[in-house]
Amino acid sequence: MKEATEASLDRDAELMLRFKAGDQDAFNALFDRHCAPLVNFAYRFVRSRELAEELAQEVFLRVYDAASGYHATARFTTWLYRIATNVCLNEMRRPRFRVAHESLDSRQTQDCDAVPFELPDKGRPAADVLIQRRAIADALQKALQELPDKQRIAFVLNKYQELSYSEVAEVMAVSEKAVKSLIHRAKEALAATLQPLMKELL
């Protein structure tokens, strides 16, 4: 009964409970809803589309396996990103990732359909603005890689995956105060590297 009430507040949790009851379409719907965000989440860590897609699949397989023990006691996305964070960190700690990561540094921007967000209020950006954005995106990726793991996770979850501090705290199993501190330090470090580039653009 408790599960049903909570699920009504969270569409994803409702889908997960339907899948737990045997509805395969509900799982497919979850995949459709979260595939792109998960691939992008993994991409912030591994900087390779291919590997990011592999990791996103790994996350969904774990969701699939864990369905029988799932309880809608927290938001589905919190649970999902906790799995995703573990999968990404595990991958980054593997020696083969470290070796591959070094070789990817030289070609990190070659994903041909990796595009910057369009800014809707400014119309179509001029070519020089696009070039500047590309420079910022590259510099940002590099700066993100240099952050300590916890700072990077907190920053990406809050700024890219759009989780609130309390949700990030739940994913990382730390206090909200700790999350605030991690994000503050991440912002300081990123600002030191990226502010000159951003001032040119804004």
């Binding site: 995949f31 459709d32 595939c35 792109a36 691939v39 992008n40 991409y43 589309r49 990011a52 897609e53 996103a56 699949q57 969904f60 397989l61 699939y64 994903d111 359909d113 990796a114 595009v115 910057p116 967000f117 800014l119 809707p120 209020d121 400014k122 954005r133 590309r134 910022i136 995106a137 940002l140 990726q141 809050n158 700024k159 890219y160 759009e162 989780l163 609130s164 501090y165 309390s166 949700e167 990030v168 999350v179 605030k180 994000i183 912002k187 300081e188 990123l190 600002a191 990226l194 502010q195 951003m198 653009l201 804004l202």
Partner: protein, 172 residues
């Protein structure tokens, strides 16, 4: 989203209270509105980065690849379970085998009990010669204890002698 709406929620946004669509709308507005962006501190300009950063579109075949992988995973699961079990306990659930195993266990336990009973020897014989010899020598053992005590007393005597060396004041 308007400037007024953005500015009304700016503090909550910067304090990480917003999530999902509400934080996305504010971030996008800030990235496209110079007057609102001017309200941000240099550090908070970092808030705009995700809007300026690139995003990845999953490749077209990803869903199909995942379904194939999931199917393989699903087929693998029961095999894995079978392989990891050291003994097929499910076989015991079958009544005929369960009865057979029970009967065999009963026979083995009964045979064990009978063997134990037949090999049991009560302590009914007289003490052996060695046991008698030890018992007979007990007084002698007590005498040995006395001799040890005497040696100790001799030690006391030597201490006493030390204390009576001429010129000494005896025991201190």
């Amino acid at each position: 989203m308007t400037c007024r709406e953005t500015q009304a929620q700016l503090e909550a946004f910067l304090n990480g209270k917003l999530s999902g669509e509400s934080s996305r709308s504010i971030r996008r507005h800030l990235a496209s509105c110079n007057s609102c962006a001017a309200l941000l501190s240099p550090e908070d300009l970092i808030e705009l980065l995700p809007v300026l950063d690139e995003t990845i579109q999953p490749s077209a075949g990803l869903q199909a690849r995942f379904h194939a992988r999931m199917e393989a995973h699903r087929r693998e699961q029961p095999e894995k379970t079978r392989r990891t079990l050291p003994f097929d306990w499910r076989a015991l659930g079958r009544p005929a085998r369960l009865i057979g195993a029970g009967a065999l266990a009963t026979v083995l336990v009964a045979a064990g009990i009978i063997f134990e009973i037949r090999s049991y020897r009560p302590y009914a014989t007289a003490p052996s010669e060695v046991e008698m010899t030890i018992a007979g020598n007990l007084p002698l053992l007590q005498d040995l204890r006395v001799i040890e005590n005497l040696e100790m007393l001799e030690d006391f005597d030597s201490i006493d002698n030390l204390s009576t060396v001429p010129g000494s004041s005896g025991l201190r």
